[in-house]
Symmetry: C4
Subunit: 356 residues, 4 copies
């Protein structure tokens, strides 16, 4: 069957994946209130399109972290992508490369970062702060050496949120999937009733990062540093002061603090407050080109796509992942024109309105 929108690929992925892996991907923390709120908040936003403007030469291209991308979209970091497809991060990175958008390699990638980076395209590296600062900075150095173009520093995971689906499933990684970037030990593979082995593992490895950690990373690399997981205006402003090149306004896909405000609800205020001091990216709940348009209209320079990209990967490997970006491209091109915008920057001047 032809897939006409990302939700079609969600259905395909749900069929393709074992239940507990689906849950690992789809679930949020706690009662999943923030997960649901991400969509609800987007659904309440309506755009006021403009008419009769010149659309010749219209393009979806965008400057993302200082370089051209085919879309104002990057692939969000998602851990352990070999859970979703045997080729995991390699297939995913190739799809992003071919589609012309940045791909974020995870600290918890199931393929070594250097092997992913060699795929080419525009790799970014997502950093979790490890208990040992030296090991954290070593990862940054490896990423830079491997050719990554940016460090996406996840700042909203002092530890993992309580993802009840994984706990109920007693979820553990299969032996074939490991944290490939460091010698991780057996914790992530140990099945225990009522416990997520993945959470247990990260609790052993990660430590809460602080603004000092940000300074340490910044001092350690020449790459632009993006802080992912900002929701408070004060933190966004401080990120600019701390020399961040960008921030990702995000509640981590509803997987960290259940009850955290959706990023999209904070976006406009944050974009106004930083007023160009750094790039403002958004993630959480983006499922269509029209959603991308809403984020742009509220001040984002681009969005990150997490779960939907994995749907494509699960449904059909590299080709499926590529299809996600192709569909988004078609939808965004369509939406931009229907809103009277010949470019991504024109979309940022659209007005919006809340309607239940």
């Amino acid at each position: 069957m032809t897939h006409l929108c990302l939700d079609d690929l969600e259905r395909a992925a749900r069929t393709a994946l074992p239940g507990e892996i689906w849950d690992f991907l789809a679930g949020g923390s706690g009662a999943e209130a923030s997960l649901a709120a991400n969509r609800t908040a987007l659904d309440r936003i309506f755009v006021i399109p403009r008419m009769l403007r010149e659309l010749t030469g219209g393009t979806t291209e965008a400057e993302v972290l200082g370089r051209r991308a085919s879309l104002p979209v990057a692939v969000a970091p998602v851990a352990y992508q070999r859970l979703f497809h045997p080729e995991g991060e390699l297939a995913a990175a190739r799809a992003a490369r071919d589609a012309g958008v940045p791909y974020t390699i995870c600290t918890l990638s199931s393929v070594p970062l250097e092997e992913i980076a060699v795929v080419g395209g525009r790799p970014w590296f997502q950093l979790y702060w490890l208990r040992d600062e030296k090991r954290s900075l070593e990862l940054v150095r490896r990423a830079e050496d491997a050719g990554c173009e940016a460090i996406v520093f996840t700042v909203d995971v002092p530890w993992m949120g309580r993802r009840l689906r994984d706990m109920r499933n007693g979820f553990a990684l299969p032996e074939s999937v490991t944290a490939a970037n460091f010698d991780a030990g057996a914790a992530a593979h140990r099945r225990t009733e009522g416990l997520s082995a993945v959470a247990d593992h990260t609790a052993r490895e990660f430590a809460p990062a602080t603004w000092e950690s940000v300074e340490a990373v910044r001092a350690h690399t020449n790459l632009p540093v993006v802080l992912k997981g900002i929701l408070a205006v004060e933190d966004a402003v401080r990120a600019v002061d701390a020399g961040a090149t960008g921030i990702v306004v995000s509640n981590h896909g509803g997987r960290q603090l259940d009850g955290a405000v959706p990023g999209i609800a904070m976006l406009e205020e944050i974009a106004d407050a930083v007023s160009g001091g750094c790039e403002v990216l958004l993630d959480g709940g983006i499922r269509t080109g029209g959603d991308v348009l809403k984020a742009l209209a509220l001040g984002a320079s681009g969005v990150l796509i997490g779960r939907p990209f994995m749907w494509g990967l699960a449904a059909d490997g590299q080709a499926g992942a590529r299809q996600v970006l192709d569909l988004l491209a078609v939808e965004l091109r369509n939406a931009l024109g229907l809103a009277g915008c010949d470019s991504v920057s024109a979309a940022r001047r659209l007005s919006t309105r809340y309607e239940r």
Copy 2:
């Protein structure tokens, strides 16, 4: 069974029409969020009726584009009406004529515009901007020559929205139904999985219009020009400046930008902004005389009826289409009086209130 409201005719039409033709009529674009929002927005509006006012001589008559109509209602442009009934546009135009309201002939009518115009009544002509400006202006000229009284220039279709129902159905026109106003080629009849042949066809024929196109039309005809598909206040004001006699505040029945604000949500602000500089019509989701009353109270001089008129046509040809207008007339007469209004202009001074 007696039809007591337009929704009764919807049920009848759904029964009468093949699934894919029903979908072509009923569907919106994308996730159909704007389609649903049109109704939700109307349902939230409540009118504050006035009591004990003189109702003698009360009338539903209205001045629409400078001429009397029996109702503040016109029939919206809907493409290919022979899909819904073998007599198509002819039956529809006769029904509108007999009911005393304007009928909008489509660029994509399935009967040549001249044959429809000869039915009489008050024909308007809806213009899609074609790739070749000369052919566009030729259509305007033909419409004027045929006796049309206004040009309704659709400004929200640089190209068609992604109407997923049609794409899923691989919808194509049957051989017996064609774009009768020009030599259209075979594109609209070619079935392809995952593709709407109608969208494909229009993509080949149409081009994005601009404010220059509006000026070209205005310069080319003596008829009043109405811009259909305005949602932004700035565009409404510019339409006045561009010499438009009227605008239709509309999100194209939720069929173009999915996520576009409902027209009814913008109506009051737009009517205030143009403050009589041009006529302000509204379409999208009107299903009862009470809905018409709401639009009037928010500043519209009238509304356009699209899908419901087609329900009548599908259910019972000319008689069914006529019944739609007769029911609206009865309902509007009823609503006006119950709101203490002896005229359409009195309704425009009613207050409204939003309730969940």
Copy 3:
């Protein structure tokens, strides 16, 4: 089974009554949006109760139209009560009398007004404006002569709303039930498909009232005149100027203009605007003593109960109707005390808050 709240009696009535009579009682006009909104609006209002105040000697008694009643409640006019129980208005009036609250005799009562008035208690008379002003005033005179204490002039029925349930049922009065106050002819008994004989009959008999009609009534009687069906602040203020002793803020139970704002949504603004210039009563959707408390807190001096009283009548005649008022009394006494109020007037100083 013991009835613990009015909704219990609704279920009993629904079982007791033939479907089309239930529909006649329960239905609203059009899509029944205003009917539903009456409840939705009440459900959104929350009261801020006060604590630790003296409750000794607490009472539910209230001054209603200048006389003490056991509750700030009156029985609303409901036509043709013999539809619901063979003893109709007589049983109803006796129940109200015994409970110590006013009972409103209808123009369309199925027992002659004089026979109802003789029951005693505190009868009021509801007036519909007839085509012949003299006959209207004659009804007022008869009511006054019979001992009615107030004229409740219904001002929101220039004609009846489109009550689709009755039209679908082709509803007509059974031969045994007639408009007993005047020689009504056969219209109300004539079954026609798609038509409500009751609506047809009133269309023949009634005429739209105007402010002149109010003046005529006022000049014709010494009784206090209450205008029932006010929703606009301007009309409320004008009612005071016109010498009205009271108004009933009401959308006629959602049976007239579908899309009319709920009375409860206008109540506070209207009560503030008339600021004691006349009594402000409220009807529409009141189902519990807590609902009465909400109306008082928003500025009403009392409420009218329509459908629920008929539920009691249908379920168990005079005893059932009485039970409705007894339950309301128990609930209101309970609610007043729990809100820290020893009287109805104390309740009018409570604050409220909207939630969802």
Copy 4:
């Protein structure tokens, strides 16, 4: 099955308890609108978490009524706990003691208060005002003598709300469960159709308290006095003036005035108004550590947990009750850190936002 959140224990309790006892615990008054609103109001609140702050040494400890507790949580008064488990209040008090949080002994405890107090930990005593002031003060004296640390004076029960579930069930206490703190007579055990024997009993025993009662209690004891059941800002301010050490902002779990505003909806305004003049506790609908976080962010110094603690007790006695507090502790520790807070007082400086 492992219980991962309090809702898991709710399901277990529902299975464990006879229907009418479940109803006695779960039910609210009237149509249970306030009961539902407690949850709805919490669900609308979203927290804006802060990132990258120092979390080392983070703790959930809190000062509650002047003494350290392991959590900003106390066990709310719930009557007749032997209904839920044979060991009733003894098991409950032991669980609270072991978890390090205050436990509130009820006037209507099914074990004598002295026997519960001897369990140790931090017992508080909840006071209902009895018809005989002397007996009320005697209870206060007994509580103080037994070692209770605070008097929680319930001010929102001049009499019990209409809890329809109990009335429908004709609920009465089994012989084995009695009001153990006074010679209560047989009323609470007498089954009558349509009546709650518990409500009947309290109607015989209780009297409405007033501000004079508060003064009498304050004068009679050296213990801090907390007024439970405050919703109006004026009452909160007056509580400070009356010498209260704390207040519990509460609508009594939706069991008193149906239609009373949820406590959480008044919390921020009340906390601002008393501005540290007394401790502000909150109850009603708290089900997760994230809910506790919301209450803290809106200005509470802590929350009371009622029904969920009883779920644990019903599901597994002392161990189950303890598990409720352990789960809350884990969840709150998690939520605090994910919101960037190393302490309960830091949480009180978080911002919140309403969504939908």
